[in-house]
């Protein structure tokens, strides 16, 4: 599903590598945590997967295609197969929660009936059923984060990528959300989560990739957060 070979990323003309010779292979249907301290390169890695960024060196295959070679007009189709929760949410702020989720479905050409059925369902899954008509700017931090998750899962993508999806959630809600991702994963969806939430990582006992200063310093099945620290 996702395969990195000698993947390197350097921003601009700075000398520091955000990602330094990273190699890994993630299979279809896996559930993987990316952990590492602040600035380790987790978001950079996830942004490379959806081709928000282009790697400076090395190869990155997503769905068996080298994303750095993907022509620009194919990008939308790559992204439609990936549901992404961004660390900074990236919701259309002047629109309602409903509109934000519906937009992702309109983009892939869902029918109006399908949208009217599916959007309330996913909002219910993340606990935002009462906030459907609220503008994004009128939501609390955690509510925005969950709206982002609702958008990511709306299209039943082949892969879900979540960057710090519980940073603004209380432990209870966070666990609910992660359980939701696990149940989606159990139905065959690949799930990649970058997180700092030790409780969550330790509780789920899934594969963990450890990043440190842009280097991949560990890759464990049933890993726990505290391994590195």
């Amino acid at each position: 599903m996702v395969e990195a070979k000698n993947l390197c990323m350097k921003y601009g003309k700075g000398k520091q590598m955000a990602l330094d010779d990273v190699n890994f292979f993630i299979d279809r249907g896996e559930f993987v945590f990316f952990v590492g301290s602040s600035g380790a390169g987790k978001s950079t890695l996830l942004k490379l997967i959806i081709r928000e960024l282009k790697p400076s060196k090395g190869a990155l295959k997503v769905f068996n295609r080298d994303v750095s070679r993907l022509p620009r007009h194919r990008l939308p189709y790559l992204r439609r197969n990936i549901g992404m929760v961004f660390q900074d949410f990236r919701l259309m702020e002047e629109r309602t929660v409903y509109d934000n989720v519906a937009f992702a479905m309109i983009v892939i050409g869902s029918s109006r009936r399908e949208i009217r059925r599916r959007v309330p369902h996913v909002l219910n899954l993340v606990g935002l059923q009462d906030k459907a008509k609220a503008k994004i700017t009128d939501l609390s931090g955690g509510e925005q984060q969950r709206a982002g998750l609702a958008r990511a899962i709306a299209n039943r993508p082949a892969m879900i990528i979540a960057d710090e999806p519980t940073g603004n959630l209380d432990p209870g809600t966070a666990l609910d959300i992660m359980n939701l991702l696990r149940s989606i994963n159990l139905r065959g969806t690949t799930v990649l989560v970058a997180t700092h939430n030790r409780e969550i990582v330790d509780h789920f006992k899934k594969r963990v990739l450890y990043l440190e200063n842009g280097k991949l310093v560990g890759d464990e099945q049933k890993g726990i957060y505290t391994n590195v620290h």
């Binding site: 990008l75 990236r90 629109r95 869902s110 109006r112």
Partner: protein, 295 residues
């Protein structure tokens, strides 16, 4: 895809206009004001052209015939002039008619002066040319014809008139071109800023997997509507103002100000302003999106 996509685009167009109504209104305002300016100026310019053309058309020339020219020479000269390619109208004026006109002009001054006996005035052909500008050239030509004593067309004065009208028309055209360029710049700049405000929205759409055209359509429609409204309203205003002007000119019997008819002016204006407004609206939103679509 098609149905929900199409409904989406229509819906988004109006939602977008509503959500950003303040911005859209002022931007449409810029389009309107700029095109109104351009429109008013075009009206003035069209009429200035028209008036200067009218003035020029009044230029005539008088071909004086030699006093001792015989009848044959006279007739040959008359047909030579009348059949000339560039001559529109010819009229023969005898020396008696000339004297009659002079008497009328001078009033009592020539009383007691028996002009029938010793008329010093020459007979002439009064010639109108197809194009006013041809007058100067034709005068030179006719002067060489047999039986011609002299040709007058207001030498000096007419050349000056031509020069003035030429300058007026060139200045008008230059100002118009400048104004049109300005309009294009102002409108596209405004639409660019309007789109830039929504830059974040556009990039987010891209990250969710929207194709460029899917994002563009609502913006294009918005641009089209803004451009259309921004062009039609000035037309309406110009129509109103011009009708009033024409009526005012008629009421005040300023016959010497010969305004073009309302329909002609409006037809000419619509021909330029509506495509300009719509084209700029569409192109403006399309090009200014470019940068944000490359993510």
């Amino acid at each position: 895809m098609f149905i929900s996509g199409f409904i989406y685009i229509l819906g988004e167009t109006f939602k977008g206009l509503y959500r950003n109504r303040w911005m859209c209104i002022t931007s449409t305002g810029v389009v309107m004001v700029t095109l109104l300016m351009l429109g008013l100026f075009m009206v003035v310019n069209l009429n200035v052209r028209h008036i200067t053309e009218t003035v020029k058309e009044q230029v005539e020339m008088v071909v004086y015939i030699e006093e001792d020219a015989d009848r044959a020479t006279l007739e040959e000269l008359g047909s030579l002039i009348a059949n000339h390619r560039e001559v529109a109208r010819v009229e023969y004026v005898s020396s008696e008619e000339h004297m009659g006109r002079l008497r009328q002009q001078l009033g009592g001054v020539l009383e007691g002066y028996d002009t029938d006996l010793d008329n010093p005035l020459l007979a002439s052909f009064e010639v109108s040319t197809e194009y006013p500008e041809a007058v100067v050239r034709l005068a030179d030509e006719f002067e060489t014809y047999p039986g011609v004593s002299a040709v007058f067309y207001g030498q000096g004065y007419v050349e000056n008139l031509f020069e003035v009208t030429r300058v007026v028309q060139i200045v008008g055209l230059a100002l118009m071109a400048g104004l049109a360029t300005t309009a294009v710049f102002l409108i596209s700049h405004t639409i660019k800023l309007t789109v830039m405000m929504r830059k974040k929205e556009i990039t987010i759409m891209k990250y969710v997997g929207a194709t460029n055209w899917f994002i563009r359509w609502p913006f294009l429609m918005e641009g089209l509507l803004m451009g259309f409204v921004g062009a039609v309203l000035p037309l309406a205003i110009v129509h109103y103002l011009y009708r009033i002007s024409v009526e005012w000119v008629a009421v005040n019997e300023l016959m010497f100000i010969n305004l073009l008819p309302l329909e002609t002016v409006m037809a000419e204006l619509s021909l330029y302003l509506i495509p300009l407004g719509i084209g700029l609206g569409i192109l403006g939103s399309m090009f200014s999106m470019g940068r944000f679509l490359r993510v």
